[in-house]
Structures are given as C-alpha cells and as structure tokens.
Symmetry: C2
Subunit: 268 residues, 2 copies
C-alpha cells in the first residue's frame, strides 16, 4: 500500500540537484488559469530553504517576485545564503526553467533563531463563527488550485461587488493538512483577488511581488491543533494598472501566523 502523500506536499517536492540547487515540477493540482498558483511557487522556494543543510532557525520574512511566466513542467530552484550572522540568515533565491535565459522568479528571505522575549499581539483574531458553522464557498470560476482549498467566508459573498475590498474567511487544505510554514506561505496567496471583490467578477490579474512576515516559530506551529487558518485581506489602492493587498492570517486558537502584502497587475 502506498502511503498517502498530500497533493500539496507533492506540489512542493524538490530533488536536490547540487549545492543550493533543487529541481521541481509544476503541479496540475495547483495550476491556475495560465500559470502555477503563486502560493505553491512561494511555498516551493520556502521548502528549498527549509531543506537546505545550512538553514538556521525559522523563516522570518520573504519576498517573492514573479518576474516572468512559468511553463508547465520542470524548474530549477536555487537558494543561496547572502550573509549569515549568529542568529539571522539572509537568503537570495530564484527559479529558472530550461530554454529561458532569465529567472522566472526572484526573491530574498530572512531566517532567524527566535528567542524568549516580551510578546504581544495587537492584531487579534476577529470574533467570528467557527469554520464548522460555515459553508464552503463554491467559486464561480473553476481553476484547478481552487479545488485544493476549502474557503469559508464569514460575512460576505466575496463577489458581491462594492466599495470595500475587505474579505474574511477560514482557509484549509483539501484534504485537511497540518499548518506548517509552506502551507502558511501558500495561504498568503490564496485570498480572492481584491479587484474581483470590488468589481464583483473575475478580471485579468497577475501578482507581481509578494512579501510575507512570519510571526510564529516552529515550536508554536507544532502546538497547533486546528487545520483551519483565518484570513483577513484588504487593498489600500487601485491605480495605474496595479493594486495592492494586505492580509493577516491567524490559527484557530488566535495565534497570529503571518502578515502578507502583495502588488498585483490588473486589467479592467
């Protein structure tokens, strides 16, 4: 009997191909309209650093730039340490594909060994219904990766249209999967595009750059029992063919997992 491997773990699976170099393959399960779901791309880069023998501590922050198109098939991930101190480590990363002279994806990341300090969370989990009391959202546009996420909106039809792009929802993998750093990274790109929320319908969009700040370490993640995360996202501005998105992501017990920001190209 073959043990069950979650499709997400298949999607971000990497084979070591050299010093800091890994080979991977785009996933049909996590395919978007014309390119891979960006969340798996971000998670794959994170996975490369987590799997690197020089890795120090836990991810603190990462920025991923979607510079060019990723074609279906194999790709090469390269992650290198630009500078390391006693407790922090700065990474550079890129994804390339055969036949393309330039990187399709670039980015940087910071890892760190966290330590006990005074702590406080100002961004608290909104007072909302638990995921078990809400219905799974059925998106009108059926791209493959949307089947891999169970999204439950707490207060709205995300495609109702209107003056405020804020959405609030529970997010979990299909089938359910533990909350780890790659899952959190992918969730950070899973929010329905803010332009769709405002316009009440899908439009051509493409994330240009995405940043994530992580607010938990591996030990705090290991304590999580729930399989859902709660996400709140909004835009600051739509202007000149681009808009931004700011998001916050909590665990079911109220732990703030990550905050994220992206800039998105759009066409009306």
């Amino acid at each position: 009997m073959t043990p069950f491997v979650h499709p997400f773990d298949q999607a971000i699976e990497l084979a070591r191909a050299g010093d800091g170099t890994f080979s991977g393959r785009t996933s049909t399960h996590y395919w978007n309209a014309i390119s891979p779901f960006g969340g798996t791309t971000v998670a794959t880069l994170l996975q490369a650093m987590l799997a690197h023998p020089q890795r120090l501590g836990d991810p603190l922050s990462m920025t991923v730039n979607f510079a060019g198109p990723l074609q279906p098939g194999e790709f090469t991930v390269r992650v290198t340490v630009a500078r390391a101190g006693r407790s922090t480590q700065h990474w550079q990363m890129e994804i390339r594909q055969a036949g393309d002279e330039q990187p399709a994806v670039t980015g940087t990341a910071v890892f760190a060994v966290r330590r006990e300090t005074w702590s406080d969370t100002e961004a608290t989990l909104p007072d909302v219904l638990p995921p078990g009391q809400l219905a799974r959202y059925a998106p009108p546009v059926q791209v493959p990766f949307l089947q891999m996420y169970d999204i439950r909106y707490v207060d709205c039809d995300p495609l109702a249209g209107g003056p405020d792009s804020t959405t609030q929802c529970w997010i979990s993998d299909v089938p359910p999967r533990r909350l780890d750093f790659p899952a959190i990274a992918a969730y950070c790109d899973s929010f329905v595009p803010r332009l769709f929320v405002r316009k009440g319908a899908a439009r051509p969009i493409s994330t240009v750059t995405l940043s994530i700040n992580f607010h938990v370490d591996d030990a705090a993640l290991a304590r999580q029992q729930g399989r859902h995360a709660f996400g709140k996202a909004r835009a600051n501005a739509f202007n000149g063919g681009y808009y931004d998105q700011e998001g916050q992501l909590w665990a079911e017990d109220g732990t703030l997992l990550a905050t994220t920001h992206q800039l998105v190209w759009f066409r009306e």
Copy 2:
C-alpha cells in the same frame, strides 16, 4: 556662490563606477545611533535604479534587507536587471563595503510603466489637523538623522507607552524638500519604532527587512504642492525577539503615496 544642495540629496548622491555599479558614502547628517539611518540606505538604492540608463518607468515595489553592519565611509551599490518585460522590470540590488566579503544590504525591486485604468483609494487620509497647526516633536533621544526630519504628531505623545502602537504624524524634511521617490522611501523608515511606542522609551532595535509598495507615478508626484507627508503606522505583533510594522503614507492633498512593512529585531 555655491548652489544649495539639500543634505538628503548629498546623502544619497552616487558616482557611477561601472555598469550598474555606483559608489556612495555614508552621511554624518543622516547617521543613526550606531549605523546609517536605514531610510537613506533604502533611498540610495532607489536612487541607483532611478539613475540607471536602463531604468523603465517608476518604482512599484522594493524590498531591502539589512544583512550586516554598514561602517562609516564609502560603499558600493550594485543594481542589476534580473528580468525585463515590455512594461515591468525586476531588479536585484546590493551594497558592499571594502574589507567585508559579504553584502551588507541585499534586495529586489520592481519598476513599471503605469497606464490609465480605473482607480480607487480605500486607504484615505485620516481627518486630522494640518501640519501648520501642530508643533514639531522634540525627540528625547538625539541621534543625528532625527534632526533632519520635522515630525508632528496629531494625537499623541509617541512615547507615552500603552497597549496600542499606532501613531499618526506629519513628516517633512529639514529644510523642506520636494516629495520624490527617494524622499518617500526614506519617510517609510522614519516612523518611531513601534517598540518605543509600546514601552514608552528607547530600546535596542534594528530593522531586518523593509518593503515598500508605491502607489503613485512620477507625474502624480510632480503635481504635489505640499512639502509634508502624513504617516500612520502600527505593529501587528511583538514575538520571539522580532516585531513588525505596517505604515501608510499620504501627501497633503490625500494622495496615497506608499504603504510599507518592516520586520525589526529587538531587545527588551
């Protein structure tokens, strides 16, 4: 008679030293406690791209990682185009100093040619007193770069201490200077550290990584008459020796200039 050159323009001045390579020098005016004010470092990197002959359009987004210490004196900035399309351009950047084998600063940026589209700003300028009706804040800690900014808080003593790290203030250069992309980038790092706001006093802190999303193009900036920007900043969480900061920056006429996020190392 020597024409007046603003100290900020002196601080970010670069001499071309080769293809994508520039030499600069740390500024005594914009020195912080033990290192250069990070805002001038970010602005200097931006200046290098703005001055680059291959530059396409206006800055859209940038992430700067403060990987190692910058010593007083000369440094080398290197900015390279990782990938360019018809309307977007992805940059990689670093700062190095002689005698240090590793980069002190790394980062990525996206430039783009904006185009006319539907636009809307959800993050509107708060209804506050204009800068002329408020007093300049006199910071209790006198590090050089703080003399170069005129900060006027609208609703609080930023060092009162308390459960909410939010601050709101007008920011301008000393002496006044036009709002351009380097100034905006520097303003994004000028907010009083959120830890100081919570603890009511200065503590050892160090920005690890900072991202900026710009929401204006050069033409919109050129229309600005005011010399003040309005900044609102807050933290989501303090945890394990790090905290984050999210900020928004508007022009006096309500134009959203930029949103910014950083992650900061701290000691209690």
